[in-house]
Amino acid sequence: MSDAVRVLIVDDEEPARLLLREILAAEPGVEIVGEAENGFEAVRAASECRPDIAFLDIEMPKLNGFEVAELLAPEVAVVFVTAYDQWALKAFEIHAADYVLKPYRAERLREALARASSRRAGGAPAVDPAAVSKSARPAGSFAERIVVRDGPKVHVIPVDRVDCLEAQDDYVAVRSQGKKFLKLQTLASLAETLDPARFLRVHRSYVVNLDRLRSIELYAKNSHVALLADGSRIPISREGHARLAALLDRR
């Protein structure tokens, strides 16, 4: 059946995967295209087997369910399946199709499947990566890492190793230790997840990690560039220079 709903199962516990498989496999028109035990595997499996729906546990090794959701292709409908009820609100904020609490009845899972399938048919917006990266951390704290997908591979970059972020069309280039990672997100929405005392938007297209800032050089009259620890230079706008001066004064 070519129009079968393609389903990916992600849970680090074997019995939990077993249960999902048992219920979903019995559904007509559902094809289980992959299973994963952790976040990295999930992202790899998703890029290989192109699922329509991902059933994701939240607390997992390597990447949590939210981080996985952030890295899935935007058209994949996400159903979270977890014992923790405190993430439910965040799940809906990021447009997850459903949120199923363990333990659950088979009907409940079928309901989630139906909801996710209808969303796919209706072409409703799937997971919004900007909203996800905002929600993937506990309230009141800032992101400690940035996850980036590179084909089937996932890079986890701790924020203290980030030199700067650069807007590039629909992407953000995350520059870290001489490498550049492209992430499908806007600069503003990614910057919003970071601690404003450590990361500053110095230019329309640049956010700099202040710990990596070596010096500020006068480039021309009223125009500055920032010299970073890795030797690279990034432009500073007039507003950026004012913000930088204000922040450095406070420090």
Partner: protein, 353 residues
């Protein structure tokens, strides 16, 4: 402010208690060749009333000069001097009052007779003052005792609260939900294993409820309980979770507060094993050395694991509980060394255990 005046309804009983004093004063003054009964009463009643208030002033020196070794001379001198002054004021005010009384013909002879009795009255005044000081020391001691009692009961409430938190924490709902989900999964595919898990879960819950009611249990029982918990978790995590126990025979006999290790063992699984793809070993070690019991719970963890909620809560519960039970005598530390997390605690061994 003086405690007697600080609260309404205390002054009445206090003044009533002074009535016998007036009677004694009358008895002292009525002597042949001294005052008549009427004169004595007219002098003694108002003067007792006056002294009832003057005597209260002894509270201030009594409070500011606690009875301490090495300061006794200062205490005695201070109170004698204040006593003499108070008494002098008293006798002087009395003389004024007597002169007022002498305006009526009945008491015309009173001033002269009062003058005769001044040494007696003065002596009585000093003695009364010292009595008042003594009573005030009793009062101060009483208040201090009550304050200490209140502080102790506040500490006890704190200890109880820590106990309650510990008990609540050990019945961690997500552990139950996840375990029930595993049972739900196994019911169809592996019924004997599902049944085994049901029984394991029930055993753990029953035991943890029953030990929770006891003030202390042998470490061997605590370790057995933790092992049951880990057995249930192993059904979920499979080969990812291994357990090693290394408890010396003397250590096993030591008594510990029930469920003390539960939050630590749970942390070892939730923040340790569960963050690792390959899992690892949860190691429980304990040994007695002298009058102390040292317990170490060790597990590997992923330093790059995504941030979790609730982290640190288990450690806080253990720390609060140890403080409530042992004060500064208990030591507790959590360390991270080369990808391993160590929770180390050392508690005194109590004689009653």
């Amino acid at each position: 402010m003086h405690p007697l005046l600080a609260r309404k309804g205390r002054l009445g009983p206090y003044l009533a208690a002074c009535t016998p004093l007036a009677a004694v004063l009358v008895a002292v003054l009525v002597r042949p060749g001294a005052l008549s009964l009427l004169e004595a009463a007219a002098v003694a009643v108002p003067m007792t009333l006056l002294y009832a208030f003057l005597g209260l002033s002894a509270w201030y020196p009594a409070r500011s000069l606690p009875l301490e070794r090495g300061r006794l001379a200062l205490v005695v001198i201070t109170h004698c001097v204040t006593g003499v002054c108070t008494s002098a004021v008293w006798v002087f005010v009395g003389a004024g009052m007597v002169r007022l009384l002498a305006l009526t013909p009945v008491f015309a002879a009173l001033p002269a007779r009062y003058a005769q009795e001044v040494p007696v009255l003065f002596g009585a005044g000093v003695l009364l003052y010292l009595l008042s000081v003594a009573l005030h020391y009793v009062l101060v001691a009483f208040e201090a005792a009550r304050e200490a009692e209140r502080r102790e009961s506040a500490l006890e409430i704190l200890a109880r609260r820590a106990e309650l938190e510990a008990l609540k924490a050990q019945i961690h709902p997500h552990f139950l939900f996840n375990s029930l989900n595993s049972i739900s999964a196994l019911v169809a595919s592996d019924p004997p294993k599902a049944r085994e898990m049901c029984i394991g879960l029930a055993d753990f819950l029953r035991q943890s409820l029953s030990v929770g009611e006891r003030p202390a249990i042998p470490l061997s029982e605590e370790i057995a309980l933790a092992t049951r918990y880990l057995d249930v978790e192993r059904a979920r995590f499979g080969r990812r979770l291994a357990v090693e126990t290394d408890v010396t025979p003397e250590g096993a006999l030591c008594s510990v507060p029930p469920l003390l290790l539960q939050p630590l063992v749970e942390n070892a699984v939730v923040h340790g094993i569960a963050t690792l793809e390959a899992g690892g070993i949860v190691r429980m070690q304990a040994e007695r050395s002298g009058r102390r019991l040292r317990i170490v719970i060790e597990n590997p963890y992923d330093p790059d694991a995504p941030p979790k909620r609730r982290s640190g809560l288990g450690l806080k519960i253990v720390r609060d509980r140890l403080t409530a039970l042992y004060g500064a005598e208990a030591l507790f530390a959590a360390r991270r060394v080369d990808g391993r997390h160590l929770a180390i605690l050392s508690i005194p061994i109590r004689a009653d255990a």
